[in-house]
Amino acid sequence: MNKDDKEAVLFKPVEKTGRGFYLVVAGLVLILAWAAYAYSRQIVDGLDVTGLNRPVYWGLYITNFVFFIGISHAGTLVSAILRVFGAEWRRPITRAAEAITVFALVLGTGNIMIDMGRPDRLLNIIRYGRFQSPLVWDVTSLTVYLTASLTYLYLPLIPDLAILRDRPGLSPWRRWLYTKLSIGWQGTEEQKHRLERLIGIMAVLIIPIAVSVHTVVSWVFAMTVQPMWHSTIFGPYFVIGAIFSGIATLIIVMVILRRAFNLYAYITDQHFSNLGLLLMIFAFLWAYFTFSEYLTEFYGNEPAGMRVLFAKLVEEFSLMFWAMWLFNFILPFILLSNRRTRTVTGTVVTSILVNVGMWLERYNIVVPTLTRPRLPSPITSYTPTWVEWSVLVGSFAVFAMLYVLFSKLFPIVSIWEVREGEEIAAGGVVAGHHAEAGAD
């Protein structure tokens, strides 16, 4: 198979639209319409349509918020950390990962806005924002992260936009779009050098930004005095959990892309094996942090904390709590430690389990603490309503829709980076980049 035939598969989703695309989009539009209807009921009637109450003031929406922000760490891990460490196997999956980051951030911030009682007053955060409030730290670091991620998605897209711009047979609006967005890229040595430097700077910068994002998200909880929230471990705990769920999401997205766009030559079984190992390492890290948290609480024997602890361990939250352990640690350990089960299927199944487990983990952090206030309360339970579940399903639909539209407009595998990787593997020297031992 010569290079053009091999590469044809990378251009196909952008240049040809089959029936599958329309079916998927139609399905997503239906789900989105339903979710929009659910949210409209909330706009009209207020948050009364949810299952939230006093004392459970936060529930599914905040769980979703933390969950999606967590997933957004997928892109940062693959594109930035692997790039900084020179891991060549990142090349075919780097754009898919960065797209996950941007779209997950959209859903994260979207869920926060849906949770607000007065979303019409959103700008008050800018007009009257108080830097003492962890929520303002949140808004700040999320804004910075979203901006940086968009930049980090766009910069490596430029050479591919130029490749598309120069392809024959483009419709006029597409040629206009790619011409505008590729901002005059001609692939000169000087341009390539500048781009490499910019991308390199962004890759290094975006790592601490990403760490700060999930740290401040955790601090929204940890900076209160509430039992089992006020924990010093929350910052690193949430970051580890975010990277964990990010890797799992990346694996799921990769297997879908590989199947949908026939990318088997680019997204190989080795990718899944590597990411599967990384997933297992993070399963251990997650288990370590979670065990530390719960053991410490138990030994402290502080009454308010123990009420929350036992709510999770043996009372009404126990099913979700032990399911979380099963999905996040026990099953991943069994499936991923054994090479016979660390197949593509095994890794994907584990990733789905991890994503469910991590959503449960966020729920287990947000809700049980609120059901056990220090002073007597007539209500101690929370049951989400159809509106809240619809928003969750709708959030996934928005994510999928953004992804489908993105891969319709732009190549989901970075063509120029893959080409560059092949040249390096063949022993060539590329502007600003030398063949590195450690490729693959």
């Binding site: 109450n53 949770d115 607000m116 009682g117 007053r121 008050n124 009257y128 003492q132 962890p134």
Partner: protein, 209 residues
């Protein structure tokens, strides 16, 4: 400038809840109804907490009227992203309803659970709108509200005025000769959740005097 505080004598309190009712009437607190109340949506700026310990016949009931503590170190003010919750020069923790974005972070941060949210637009039973107090704003849907120590009718909050047992006192904690100052210094005096460092300004006088 007075620094307001409240003292509640638990030996005199009979848990009649006249204070809770008077507060709701005075402050235009919206009606909830049995279904909404069962869902945990009822608003009680002043609420009587009830706790029953032990097994019959060795039972002990404790009833504690609980307004907002108007903490000197309020955790709610610290976390509000837009400064809708603030502390004024008289030590009261108040709410700017027009600024509140309804994020409910202040509610989550308060260890005493004194804050309430307007989950829906406020409602009154047929005809009851005629009894609304013109001195107190009606809060819209989607914002947080709570006890204000009746800042509009100081120095006597409605709950204190309504108490039939003369169990409640209110005044300037910084005036050493005021009733509240003297009672707050009583050996019977205690505050709720004192070890959290919130420095609440509602004192209780222990039962069993």
């Amino acid at each position: 400038m007075p620094h307001w505080g409240m003292v509640i004598d638990l030996d005199r309190c009979v848990a009649c809840q006249a204070c809770s009712a008077a507060c709701r009437a005075e402050n235009n607190v919206s009606f909830a109804g049995p279904e909404e109340t069962a869902l945990g949506r009822a608003i009680y700026w002043q609420e009587v907490l009830a706790e029953v310990d032990g097994e019959y016949p060795n039972v002990r009931g404790t009833f504690i009227p609980r307004p907002c503590m108007h903490c000197e170190n309020p955790p709610c003010v610290r976390v509000c992203p837009v400064g809708a919750t603030y502390q004024n020069e008289e030590g009261l923790v108040l709410q700017r309803y027009e600024r509140c974005i309804g994020c409910r972070y202040c509610m989550v941060a308060c260890p005493y659970a004194v804050r309430y949210f307007n989950w829906r637009a406020p409602e009154w039973a047929e005809g009851m709108e005629r009894y609304q107090n013109p001195d107190v704003p009606i809060r819209p849907k989607g914002v947080v509200e709570k006890c204000t120590f009746c800042t509009h009718r100081l120095p006597v909050p409605a709950c204190n005025q309504a108490c039939p047992g003369n169990a409640r006192f209110f005044g300037d904690l910084e005036d050493p000769d005021s009733v509240v100052s003297q009672l707050a210094r009583s050996p019977r005096a205690f505050r709720l959740l004192e070890d959290l460092g919130t420095e609440p300004k509602v004192y209780y006088l222990r039962e069993g005097a």
